[in-house]
């Protein structure tokens, strides 16, 4: 048997084995054409519209995972879980998300939300230096899509002496863990509820856009950071591959 024949034989056998072991990856493996040119597979390097064509199995697994999170006590993810979940959500909505910002992590990434009063949603507690990270002063429109989060540490009692927290004005994605509706927003402040009954406070627009208080939702939501700037109020349905513009 000459070399080429042997190579083809081994190649064919290996291809069959890969297709049997891991059929989901087969469409994304480059192929070699007769002119020795590697034909690029379906996969996209950038997050364009093709990237949101997540496979149905991947989407189903993500939805099952998110619904299982809704049944858990409010909490935070370990690094490995956060990384995998962030990747799956990224490919579902076509925009990169993550659960940390420069290795900083919220106290809770999933939990129960309550409505913010109008005063809470628009109150700016700090005089913000725009040169500081994550402290872009939002427009009033952006504050319509605001979320307050629980701080990780106990805070001083005199608010005016606080330094703006690292997560202030970071763009986020809020996901309803029951209906899989999501909307982009911004962290605008700190939730000062005692006893941690609620982990998040959200403006009425966010609650309405994601139906967080619809029957069955029970206010369970997940928050992740958006890596790119998206107009606050942009809605997504994780059960379909298309983004719904606000």
């Amino acid at each position: 048997m000459n070399f080429t024949t042997h190579l083809q034989s081994v190649l064919s056998q290996t291809q069959v084995e890969v297709n049997q072991l891991w059929p989901e990856i087969a469409p994304y493996i480059p192929v070699v054409s007769d002119v020795s040119v590697i034909t690029e597979p379906i996969k996209s390097k950038s997050l364009d519209k093709d990237a949101v064509r997540i496979s149905q199995e991947e989407r189903s697994q993500l939805l099952v995972h998110l619904r299982s999170i809704a049944a858990l006590p409010a909490g935070q993810f370990d690094e490995a879980s956060a990384s995998g979940l962030a990747h799956a959500i990224t490919y579902t909505i076509g925009t990169e998300v993550r659960f940390t910002v420069d290795d900083d992590q919220l106290a809770f990434s999933h939990g129960v939300v309550r409505s913010l009063t109008a005063a809470e949603a628009t109150n700016r507690l700090w005089t913000v230096d725009p040169a500081q990270r994550g402290t872009r002063v939002p427009s009033n429109q952006a504050l319509d899509w605001s979320v307050c989060v629980s701080p990780r540490e106990l805070l001083p009692t005199v608010r005016q002496q606080w330094q703006p927290p690292w997560f202030l004005y970071q763009p986020i994605l809020v996901i309803n863990l029951r209906s899989m509706q999501a909307v982009s927003g911004q962290i605008s402040g700190i939730l000062t509820d005692r006893l941690n009954r609620y982990q998040f406070g959200a403006s009425s627009k966010i609650i309405q856009a994601t139906s967080l208080w619809s029957p069955g939702a029970q206010g369970r939501m997940l928050v992740c950071f958006l890596s790119s700037t998206i107009t606050p109020g942009t809605r997504f349905n994780l059960q379909t591959p298309l983004a719904i513009k606000s």
């Binding site: 080429t4 290996t14 072991l21 002119v35 991947e58 990747h87 799956a88 490919y91």
Partner: protein
């Protein structure tokens, strides 16, 4: 950059170069394609289906970063992959 090159060490590189010397351009590409398949097959055999879904997402995003992620979360996989690559290359050098 092909997937297998993230796992190419000195012995693998030398074996590959030795084999490539006598191959046409097309066969050289086929050999590299086979090495990529060996990497994927090893990952498929070593990882649970739930983890493979994550791996697939990252492979689609940027295959060059996949090895770094696997090294961090599944460090034993590198040795398995390099062994598999070495074995398959040796089959083409034994007369």
């Amino acid at each position: 950059m092909s997937l297998f090159q993230s796992y190419s060490n000195e012995p693998i590189s030398q074996l590959r170069q030795t084999i490539r010397q006598s191959l046409s351009a097309y066969d050289q590409a086929q050999l590299d394609h086979l090495l990529d398949l060996i990497v994927i097959k090893t990952i498929a055999r070593q990882l649970q289906p739930a983890v493979r879904t994550q791996v697939l997402s990252m492979y689609r995003a940027d295959a060059t970063r996949l090895s770094a992620w696997l090294d961090e979360h599944h460090p034993a996989l590198r040795m398995a992959i390099t062994e598999a690559l070495t074995r398959i290359l040796l089959t083409f050098t034994v007369e």
